[in-house]
């Protein structure tokens, strides 16, 4: 069964810029000589360090132990020697402890066909432990340890399990390629999650611009279970959890609630792939597919790269930087962060590294708000960003909260459309911080 769906309020159609990378097969990156592995690999605290400088680590050795439900285990992406432990600044400005590992020694997994383990006979608790041990986290957007998310929702009743293949951020097409090239693995990952959550219904939402991915995914759906395949509008932010749930199920996650309050769980295609690896090949999450794109990069594409690889190395692998560059962005252009530090490492939830030229950024001086209403038109949460921004700027964050400040998902849509280039997302974040 197939239908087309989207969310009703707001949204925008930014220039998508996907043509450069989305038809090219995923390439494997050369292994980094040095890997910088932060212990914070999800939107939670740092994992607890369990190696020391001088220690020898193998490919997939655990180097950080999760503490609490917001944190996941961290593994060494390469075999080698721990050179030092030092703090690094992550793209979003948070400082994390990181292990710096020099490449040395031999590989256990690289180049080998990994044995496949049977999982259908395993108990749910064992499956969950495998996912936890592999350090799987949400790999696109807000990142949470997957085992904890599944565990928390398994107790509640899951009405809908929704696969997120919207990937509505411009440029980013890593999940797209993954769905095209590894549909069987993703599908098996989905079966594992279905087993854990026992959802009433399952839906696979895929962006309407990914017809090949839709075709491939459907072709591998062969176990006779009924699943809804939903063609999702290319409107941004269709891939955000609330907009995805609204489009697929018609349910609205309450303003002060969570997806599970309406019985929904969403999971991205990349995360399903990681779950498959964790359970079937018993491989920890230490590499991922990253989109490298933007007019400033010579050979854009999707690269399978080890976590902890400095983005400088990744860019060099893509032919280096060509045109005069305006910005290097970690993540999608609407939600991601700009950086100038080429040693910034790839994280588990790094979807893309973009090298944007001035012609793509369209920067302009900030001028006064002309009250054109474009920001309000774009806001998928039905807010009036200009008004919230003004309230916050006048020190009235309390009033802004009444007008829905905390509903803002920081999707960046308002900032994209504002012709006066008002830093709306910055302002709203400040308001949230200083309420």
């Amino acid at each position: 069964m197939m239908r087309t769906a989207t969310f009703p309020v707001g949204g925008l159609y930014p220039v998508h810029h996907k043509h450069a990378a989305h038809r090219r097969a995923i390439r494997n990156a050369i292994l980094p000589a040095v890997s910088i592995v932060p212990l914070r690999q999800s939107h939670g605290p740092d994992a607890e360090l369990c190696v020391a400088p001088g220690d020898r680590v193998g490919e997939g050795t655990r180097i950080g132990r999760a503490v609490g439900d917001l944190c996941a285990h961290v593994h060494s992406p390469i075999p080698g020697l721990v050179r030092e432990i030092r703090p690094v600044t992550l793209p979003d400005g948070v400082i994390s402890t990181a292990a710096v590992i020099d490449l040395a020694g031999s590989f256990d997994r690289l180049g080998k066909v990994l044995a496949r383990h049977e999982w259908k006979t395993l108990r749910p608790g064992t499956l969950l432990r495998l996912i936890e041990d592999a350090g799987v986290v949400g790999m696109s957007g807000v990142s949470q340890p997957t085992h904890a998310a599944i565990d928390a929702t398994a107790a509640a009743s899951c009405r809908w399990l929704i696969v997120n293949g919207a990937e509505s951020e411009p440029y980013v097409c890593a999940d797209h390629r993954l769905m095209v090239e590894h549909p069987a693995e993703i599908f098996e990952g989905l079966q594992i999650v279905e087993r854990l959550l026992a959802p009433d219904r399952v839906a696979v939402g895929i962006g309407a611009d990914k017809r090949d991915a839709m075709r491939r995914m459907r072709a591998h759906d062969n176990d006779g279970r009924r699943r809804d395949y939903v063609r999702l509008s290319v409107k941004y932010p269709q891939g955000d959890e609330r907009q995805l749930i609204r489009a697929v199920t018609g349910l609205e996650v309450p303003s002060d609630g969570h997806a599970i309050d309406v019985g929904c769980v969403t999971i991205s295609a990349a995360t399903l792939y990681a779950i498959w690896e964790a359970v079937v090949t018993r491989k920890p999450l230490y590499e991922r597919v990253v989109t490298v794109a933007g007019r400033g990069v010579a050979r854009p594409g999707n690269i399978k790269v080890r976590i902890g690889t400095p983005i400088g190395g990744l860019l060099a692998e893509c032919g280096g930087v060509t045109d005069p560059v305006a910005r290097i962005v970690i993540g999608g252009p609407l939600r991601g962060y700009a950086t100038t530090d080429l040693t910034t490492p790839v994280l588990k939830y790094t979807t893309a590294v973009l090298v944007l030229t001035a012609a793509e950024v369209n920067a302009a001086p900030i001028v006064g708000c002309i009250r054109c209403g474009r920001c309000a038109e774009a806001c998928p949460m039905g807010l009036d960003p200009a008004q919230l921004y003004k309230l916050v700027a006048h020190g009235r964050s309390g009033d802004a909260v009444d007008y829905g400040l905390f509903d803002c998902t920081e999707c960046g849509g308002c900032g994209y459309v504002c012709p006066s280039r008002i830093p709306l997302v910055d302002g709203l974040r400040n308001g949230k911080a200083n309420r």
Partner: protein
Amino acid sequence: MSANPPQFHDRATTGRMMWAIALSLLPAAGWGVYRYGTPALFIIMVAVGAAVISEGVIGLIRRRPTLRDGSAVLVGLLIGMAMPPWVGLHVPATAAIFAMLVVKWSFGGLGGNWMNAAAGGLVFAFYSWNRQMIGPGVDGESSATVLATVRGALETASGPVGGPVGLLRAVGYPVSSVDASVTDWLNARVLTVVGANLPGGYVDLFLGYVDGAIGEGAVALLLIGTIALVATRVIRWEIPAAYFASYAIVTRVFGGLVFGDGYMAGDVLFHTLSGGVVFAMFYLAPDLSSAPTNRTGMLVYGAGAGALTFLFRFYGAYPGSGAFAVLVMNTVVPLLNRGLRPRRFGTRRRRDPGGRVRAIAGAGRKP
């Protein structure tokens, strides 16, 4: 520069949008200059110049120049184009200065003004120099606006009259040769299919072969300009569309069925094509700063402006009714912005028997 998102932007900037609107007006302004000659050119130049100088002086005082955003040029251009070609140069100059200093900057400049600056300047001019703005020919001389000619003809007419276009013919208002040939062609080739017949005169109105304000006559060129602006998403279609729909309906129903023959005669075509209605519909009402910010609000605002335009026109018969209607609707914009904004996402709720807010009423499709 902030490292925070978003990292890229839409091509549109405030300046580009203002300049684009100004650019889209130039063909119609050019037509006016071609038709009325140098006086028209001077009027437009004086209006633009006065607006730019006012903005420049304010920029100097505030030590923050704002000329580059193009809005001063746009306001000046709009005012100049809405002037009839026979007014003295002090009229556009004063109107433009009034628009910039009083209407725009006393509320804090672009975006701060709740009132449409160009419309404000125009209404000021209509009040201050009423006779000049209508023209010397209220009694039917050739240099009067076409609307004033109709009204004048109605006063002198005896016996039944055939609507505004009939009245024009009755007083011998000329029909251009272009009109004659285009109308003939339309009637012979296109309209016969539906059994309709277009009387002479409308094509003149559409193409701008009638007398009136400098830049308001060439309806066809204004239409093209607006289509370009809508297509490039500089302005929204909702306001002009609602404006036209409501104006057409009200003119048909009240100007036709209720009040019958004569000046209005329910002639939607004539009353849309004449007297600057299109100018107000396409260029004054959709002003970015003074129009509502949500879609429903835009529709209500456009519809209100359309209905008011009819009202002012029916009872006033003067051009400028569109500008006046826009100003009146500006006063309710804050109300529309607050009252008609979309429901916030995730605020539709149902209470379960225990009184706890739980799920969303009615929205979920049943499994």
